[in-house]
């Protein structure tokens, strides 16, 4: 698959229209994980629109996005940066060996108190 097709698939998977972005930066102004994002929410929108896929596929931000939807809620143009981030993350973890955490690591990160909900959501966000 060439990167053009990959961009097309990611765009479709996100269900959002990045071309509507007016580059106001409100998503990044709102993002609670901003400092942990090596690629900022507004950059996700602009880079997917420009087809700069390589950087996105190799970034750390997809694992630090909290999926809190604050960026989606406040976008004045109905663009959903979180959905683009999710679409990129899916692209990465669906690749062979793309899992972010492996099941054998889990016992080390689990403590007594962890709710089931956290385990399942983490697993779903980071693994194929």
């Amino acid at each position: 698959m060439n990167s053009k097709e990959q961009v097309k698939i990611i765009k479709e998977r996100s269900g959002t229209d990045a071309s509507k972005c007016m580059k106001c930066g409100k998503c990044s102004g709102r993002c609670p994980a901003y400092n942990e994002m090596d690629i900022k929410p507004h950059q996700f929108v602009s880079m997917i629109e420009k087809g700069e896929i390589e950087k996105l596929l190799n970034c750390k931000a997809i694992y630090n996005c909290l999926s809190c939807f604050a960026c989606v809620e406040r976008c004045p143009r109905n663009v959903a940066p979180a959905a683009i981030i999710e679409a990129v993350r899916q692209e990465v973890i669906r690749m062979q060996g793309g899992n972010y955490i492996n099941s054998e690591e889990i016992p080390q990160i689990v403590d007594e108190q962890i709710p089931q909900q956290l385990l399942v959501s983490m697993y779903r966000k980071f693994n194929k």
């Binding site: 509507k20 007016m22 930066g25 102004g29 901003y34 406040r74 004045p76």
Partner: protein
């Protein structure tokens, strides 16, 4: 037998690039009754019109079909051309092959075919055209201006200057509008009151101008040149003629806790009040919701104190009916409600204010007498952060999709004023784009940056929250690619502006159209920016679209020029496309009378010869052509088909249907 000439316009390449104009004129030349068919680069040009005129004479044409742009564009032009060549101007039909063909279709073959069909349709209609003559109706030489802001004031002054009487109807107790609330104006920083109040006084003193404040439009009847307007003068409980504006009542009033809407509710006022010192008319008004006397019958202090006995607790709303030849709509704007923008904390934190509130805070006549203080604790702020585009350019449904146009400039103005008066204050401005088209506008903005050291940050704010006594503005800086947390003492929101909500009802009363954002629609976006599509109705100021003061004033004067042009005529040509009943078919059933919006149809008993010396008196419909506007409602209501509309007759429309479907 009609002798028809067909004229196909290229419109430069606008039409000819997608429509094979040669083919269109060649094919249409073969249509029955067509005696000449030509094409030319610009039919609307002088040469193009000459071509039409000469052909009419040379070929003795009885009718002309022009295949060109929309008839809404040049129908009048071509009608004049026909008329000057001696042809009845209504023996013309326009086939719209630009807006409906070349501009929307790409395939040349398809577009050419459609252009030919539209041409044939126009020919089919034209074959059935008959010469029409427009009647005339007198023009009432008086204008109505709805709204007494700077737009309405300027229009009224200009109309009065030309010698015509003009009434200003303003819904609030004083004229002046939003501009009266402003502190300084860009790009020259002169004081708004200094330039506005002389104009307000001019209005009051001009004997041609009658100002009806605290009044609203109740009903509108009639048409261009002859409007009948019902105006509701709401009860202000003070006799306007007796009140001298001395203000004694306002000092004595014991009920002092009403919100002062002139000061954007930042302080309070008494139940009887004069909106502001330079109000026109300088007359008090009682707020019945707040007045103790009107609410529970106890008090009456103001009436006792009034030296001219002007207080009248029994005053009722009054409806006055007046006639006008032209109407100017100048209903202005208001900032949008910020309830959808709670991330900026407007409803939570007192120190988050709108720009219009900030104007009052900075204004010497405002609630703080011009001292910069923040509302929560009256401390002078050391850091002020402005946020632009609050609700503008927002397609999410929370705000408005358009640019409000004035915010970039007034925010720069606010920043400069703060830095000028309080140089130790830090001023930050979050912006998406700084838009400054206009004479000396960009220079103005650059002065804010270069001379006044205002900190412009390209990015948007995600959240405003409180931390201790301060507000924290969390926003992105897109240039430095970082997220900023700016501790601020005060936050000012440049809220989007929207048309004043009263415009909805007024548009309905005036039967003029309104767009999805509630701005009134102009007759043509470029060429008729101050006319509404409804004849005799003109648009002044922000009711038509966002504008700053210089633009508003220009448009107000343009509007006045249009009104003067109209009122200068003694008579207006009426609509020539009027209804009429075929008396031989009419049964006098009165159905048509029921649907006529203008009352143009009456019934007469008329004697008809039956032959053999016998006669019969029958009731038949009679249309007053000076009143009929040609909508055609009557024609469809008429079961016998007696009622028909000239220029859009049943036969003509049926012929169009036929011609379109034949292909």
């Amino acid at each position: 037998m009609q002798r028809i000439g067909v004229f196909v316009c290229w419109c430069g390449s606008n039409i000819s690039a997608t429509v094979d104009v040669e083919k269109v004129s060649a094919v249409l030349a073969l249509e029955p009754n067509v005696v000449i068919s030509q094409n030319y680069q610009y039919m609307c040009s002088e040469n193009g019109q000459a071509l039409i005129r000469n052909s009419i004479k040379e070929h003795n044409l009885t009718g002309v079909v022009v295949c060109s742009c929309s008839p809404r564009m040049h129908e009048a032009t071509f009608r004049r051309a026909c008329e000057s060549a001696g042809l009845n101007p209504y023996m013309l039909e326009v086939a719209n092959i630009r807006e409906q063909v070349s501009w929307i279709h790409k395939d040349i073959e398809e577009a050419t075919e459609k252009a030919i069909i539209l041409g044939r349709t126009a020919i089919a209609k034209l074959r059935l055209n008959t010469p029409l003559t427009a009647g005339e109706s007198p023009v009432i030489k008086r204008a109505l201006v709805i709204g007494g802001g700077i737009a309405g004031i300027q229009s009224a002054l200009d109309i009065a200057e030309a010698g015509y009487e003009v009434d200003i109807v303003e819904k609030s107790p004083t004229i002046g509008g939003n501009m009266a609330k402003l502190d300084k104006t860009f790009p020259t920083l002169d004081c708004a009151a200094c330039i506005l109040t002389p104009k307000m006084v001019d209005c009051a003193q001009n004997e041609k101008i009658d100002i009806l404040t605290f009044s609203e439009i109740e009903s509108v009847k009639g048409f261009v040149g002859n409007f009948k307007v019902g105006i509701r003068k709401k009860a202000r409980f003070v006799n306007e003629k007796l009140c001298t504006g001395c203000g004694v009542c306002t000092q004595k009033c014991p009920s002092k806790r009403g919100l002062n809407d002139f000061n954007m509710n930042l302080n309070t006022r008494p139940a009887i009040y004069i909106p502001f010192a330079q109000a026109i008319p300088n007359v008090a008004i009682i707020d019945p919701e707040q007045c103790l006397k009107l609410k529970n019958g106890k008090c009456g202090l103001c009436a006792m104190q009034c030296p001219t006995k002007a207080i009248d607790y029994t005053q009722q709303d009054e409806i006055v009916e007046r006639e006008y030849g032209a109407i100017v709509v100048a209903t202005g704007y208001k900032p949008i409600s910020l309830e959808n923008f709670n991330e900026y904390g407007y409803s939570t934190y007192k120190d988050v204010v709108t720009s219009l509130e900030f104007e009052r805070i900075m204004n010497a006549a405002g609630p703080t007498s011009g001292h910069l203080e923040r509302p929560s604790d009256h401390k002078q702020p050391k850091v002020i952060t402005f946020i632009q585009c609050v609700g503008s350019r927002d397609t999410s449904g929370c705000g408005k999709p358009y640019c409000s146009k004035i915010c970039c400039m007034y925010t720069a103005k606010h920043a400069m004023l703060v830095r000028e008066k309080y140089p130790d204050t830090q001023v930050n401005i979050f912006y998406i784009d700084v838009r400054t088209p206009g004479k000396n506008y960009d220079e103005f903005y650059r002065r804010a940056v270069e001379q006044y050291g205002v900190n412009y940050i390209k990015g948007m704010v995600g959240k405003v929250y409180k931390e201790g006594d301060n507000l924290v503005v969390q926003g992105s800086d897109l240039i430095n690619n970082e997220q900023l947390l700016i501790k601020s003492d005060m936050v000012v929101l440049a809220a989007a502006i929207e048309p004043d909500p009263s415009v909805r009802k007024i548009a309905t009363l005036l039967t003029t159209s309104i767009d999805t954002n509630n701005f009134l629609t102009e007759a043509h976006a470029k060429l008729k920016p101050v006319e509404s599509p409804t004849a005799g109705i003109f648009l002044s100021g922000v009711c038509q679209g966002p504008k700053d003061i210089p633009e508003t004033v220009s448009q107000a004067s343009a509007c006045a020029a249009k009104v003067i042009g109209l009122l200068a005529k003694d008579k207006l040509k009426c609509n020539a496309s009027t209804a009429g009943a075929d008396e031989m078919l009419c049964t006098g059933c009165s159905l048509c009378e029921n649907v006529c919006p203008y009352g143009a149809i009456t019934y007469i008993d008329k004697e008809f010869r039956l032959g053999g010396g016998r006669t019969e008196v029958r009731r038949v419909a009679s249309v007053n052509p000076a009143v009929c506007q040609g909508c055609g409602a009557c024609t469809v209501t008429c079961p016998s088909g007696a009622m028909d509309l000239k220029g859009f007759s049943t036969k003509q429309i049926m012929a169009e249907v036929d011609a379109i479907c034949k292909n």
